[in-house]
């Protein structure tokens, strides 16, 4: 063992086989498909293109590194208890795909079925939860309204005192909710894509998009020009900026959303717990840390700097629910950029520019959509037609005034 | 002319108009009085105790006391024509001849507070004179039902407010007749400084619907400085004194509080 380690240490070359395209690989002059953004969505689309459609001459570009954007910054909540028929159908399918993803990628994504408890602190919230439960059950998603006694059994640690500003009145229990390791998903997808011939090019920033006669035919990067048959943009957090290069305007406001994790504890909280009223949600990760997230910042901003005010708001809210965290130390804190659409639904499909496909507007609901997004976007690239499941999410809906009002979109807001 | 309480021991429920805080006053065994039709708390305790409190740190509820306001491009001229002196820039107040205050809240908006010793009846004269014609470019903004009105008096008033308000209200930066429209204990408030004799005093106007919350927050903030609620009579006596009573010293009773050095 020690001998093996010594041998390993003295090797001139890294002994393991690289899982991704080795850095320094030169860019080709032309790819069939260029995917801008190597996050979970981009890598997933690349994997699906290669595996399901045999499209392997694909460049997966990122201005930073693999999975270093919002994939690394989200709080890893998988759920499908949405409110609109379109939303529930879409996320239900996504959750189903997550269940088989470790096997499909031969990569452990550390999926854990946890369930999610959303708390009601007002009569209005109970009414809306009842509505959501009915819609969910009708569409085959496990959601039910639960009373305080059931809440006590599900999460004994919750502060159910009536002597607080917003006592807990009822809850929405969503047994299908789960969590998974976000990094593992993007690594698994990218490894599979690279094995099948896709090229991952990190630190390759797209600086311009060449459009002639209404069709895209090349992108300019800091490492040179790439001709391409088709472009997919999957750059959550920078969607407006990248789309502008292709001359496309998007109905998006970019707000930071801040989160933090505490020191690790022994396993004591199984489900996700969220309170739209207190603007806070949490779960205990498999490492034992409590990951705590909340509402978006009060005004739009690019960049990932966190603020003390939001940390104070998160802390005061979580202490109402789980008072024992008063002793906890905050280990890390950060912000991600959420591309919020007016109707809290994504923007997927065709764009005004031919062969330029949009995977944008992912606000706070992007991570949980990863596998279904990969499948449907790859099908769109291969066939040129958006699959039925994502047709309602076309950019065009805003011009037809047919928004999908997704009131079940965020953990913090109704 | 000073209006004196004509009927001490008046019952709040006998009046059509009560403060949003009257239950708080009942809990404190307040002595209510009828000031020419306006119900207010005269005192909660012995007058000498109350005066000492008001010099140190006292909170009075003036929510029933007359006040009004007006807005519009022509508001400054209209006030001048009515024999009042409007301030010439926003966030300033001017003491009026009758002891009241007029504060300018923005270019075109004014708040009028009745003096504590003036006859409340006199205010009706102004109220009755509002122009009914839109062409006058001035319209009334009554403030009487929308806001509660508290007065925080005493040498330690700005120290107590510092716990609840981010704006520096100490004498160094917030002088006589200064106005701050800001957040106080997380609710919006208009804060005006009008000293009573030699005693600092801050008038606070805030949303009537959160009056009990603000009252409780202020009482709580005052506790560490030994402050407590006082009646209208205590504020009125302060106004007649031009220097603090000699027995008073902030450090004497509370060793934790050090007198501030002159800048």
């Amino acid at each position: 063992m020690a001998f093996g380690l010594l041998k390993y240490g003295f090797r001139k070359r890294y002994p393991a086989k690289p899982q991704f395209t080795p850095s320094g690989t030169t860019l080709k002059k032309r790819y069939d498909v260029v995917i801008i953004g190597a996050g979970a969505h981009g890598a997933g689309i690349a994997h699906e293109l290669a595996k399901s459609h045999g499209i392997r001459n694909v460049a997966l570009l990122d201005k930073g590194y693999l999975g270093g954007g919002n994939t690394a910054r989200n709080t890893a909540v998988l759920r499908s208890n949405y409110l609109t028929e379109e939303g529930v159908a879409f996320y239900r399918q996504s959750l189903k795909l997550f269940q088989g993803l470790s096997n499909e990628l031969n990569y452990n994504i550390m999926l854990e079925n946890r369930g999610q408890l959303t708390l009601a602190h007002s009569d209005a919230a109970i009414r809306s939860f009842r509505w959501r439960a009915e819609v969910n059950q009708h569409l085959g998603v496990r959601s039910e309204l639960v009373d305080r006694q059931t809440i006590r059994e599900l999460v004994p640690q919750l502060n159910l005192s009536e002597d607080v500003r917003y006592p807990i009145l009822a809850g929405l229990w969503h047994a299908d909710a789960a969590t998974a390791r976000h990094d593992a998903i993007v690594w698994g997808y990218a490894r599979s894509a690279c094995e099948q011939g896709v090229e991952l090019h990190q630190r390759t920033a797209v600086q311009a998009v060449e459009v002639t006669n209404g069709a895209v035919h090349a992108v300019k990067t800091n490492r040179g020009r790439i001709a391409c048959g088709c472009v997919v943009q999957a750059v959550a957090g920078s969607s407006s900026i990248v789309a502008k290069m292709a001359g496309i305007r998007l109905p998006i406001h970019s707000y930071p959303l801040q989160a933090m994790v505490t020191q690790p504890y022994k396993p004591l909280l199984k489900p996700h717990v969220s309170s739209p009223h207190l603007h806070v949600y949490t779960h205990q990760t498999s490492r034992g840390e409590f990951v705590i997230g909340g509402g978006s910042d009060p005004y739009p901003r690019y960049g990932s700097r966190a603020t003390l005010e939001q940390k104070e708001a998160l802390s005061s809210a979580i202490l109402q629910l789980l008072p024992f965290l008063a002793q906890a130390k905050v280990l890390r804190q950060w912000a991600g950029t959420t591309d919020m659409t007016p109707d809290y639904s994504p923007i997927m499909g065709l764009s005004p520019v031919r062969n330029y496909h949009l995977d944008a507007g992912w606000g706070t609901w992007g991570f949980k959509a990863t596998p279904i997004c990969a499948k449907t976007m790859a099908e769109l690239v291969a066939t040129g037609k958006p699959p039925e499941l994502i047709q309602p999410f076309a950019l065009e809906r805003f011009y037809r005034f047919e928004q999908i009002n997704e009131a079940g979109a965020t953990a913090a807001g109704h | 002319m000073q209006a004196s309480p004509s009927a001490t021991g008046a019952s709040p429920t006998a009046f059509q108009r009560r403060s949003q805080l009257y239950r708080r006053h009942l809990d404190l065994d307040a002595a209510f009085a009828d000031y020419e039709g306006v119900l207010a708390v005269a005192a909660y305790a012995d007058p000498r105790v109350e005066r000492a409190l008001a010099e140190r740190l006292g909170l009075a509820d003036l929510s029933t006391w007359p006040r009004s306001g007006c807005a519009g491009p022509n508001a400054p001229q209209w006030l001048a024509d009515a024999g009042r002196q409007p301030p010439n820039r926003p966030n300033k107040a001017v003491a009026q001849e009758d002891g009241g205050l007029i504060a300018r809240l923005s270019e075109q908006e004014f708040l009028i507070l009745q003096g504590l010793e003036a006859d409340p009846g006199l205010f009706a004269a102004l109220q009755g004179n509002w122009p009914s014609d839109a062409a006058e470019s001035v319209h009334p903004l009554p403030h009487a039902d929308s806001h509660c009105w508290l007065a925080l008096s005493g040498a330690l008033a700005s120290e107590a407010l510092a716990k609840l308000c981010a704006v520096d209200l100490s004498s160094r930066s917030f002088g006589l007749c200064d106005v701050a429209q800001t957040s106080l204990a997380r609710v919006n408030a208009i804060i005006l400084r009008q000293d009573l004799g030699a005693t600092p005093c801050f008038h606070i106007l805030s949303d009537a619907s959160s009056a009990e919350y603000l009252w409780d927050a202020l009482v709580d903030a005052m506790r560490e400085f030994g402050g407590a609620p006082v009646g209208l009579e205590a504020l009125r006596t302060l106004k007649l004194r031009d220097r603090p009573s000699e027995s008073f010293s902030p450090t004497e009773r509370h060793p934790r509080i050090q007198p501030r050095k002159a800048p």
């Binding site: 009060p298 005004y299 005034f401 | 981010a166």
Partner: protein, 100 residues
């Protein structure tokens, strides 16, 4: 806490303010079709860099404009809307207003 300089009230905690969206020209209702309305309503510039936007000081309900860098969150300057809107909207009055 971050401070914002209100043209009416001076520097205040940012918690006293409400963000009011980008400054955008209002389309002429008489010459605007459905597509243009959709663009005006739903498609902001969402720019990365220095933008001009509306803010409201909630304690006074005072609306003003700010130039802010959305990448660094640095406020370049704040100013009253009268700098942009030279002519205020006419109040409905005796002569101009609707008769009821």
């Amino acid at each position: 806490m971050k401070l914002l300089n209100c043209p009416l009230n001076g520097p205040r905690n940012i918690a006293e303010f409400t963000y009011g969206g980008e400054l955008r020209p209002m389309p002429d209702p008489a010459a605007t079709d459905a597509q243009q309305w959709a663009e005006h309503l739903f498609f902001p510039d969402n720019g990365a860099g220095i933008v001009t936007e509306w803010w409201c000081h909630t304690a006074t309900a005072y609306w003003f404009l700010a130039q802010r860098n959305t990448l660094t969150d640095e406020v370049i300057r704040t100013f009253p809307p009268s700098e942009v809107f030279k002519q205020g909207r006419k109040l409905a009055g005796k002569d101009g207003g609707e008769k009821s």
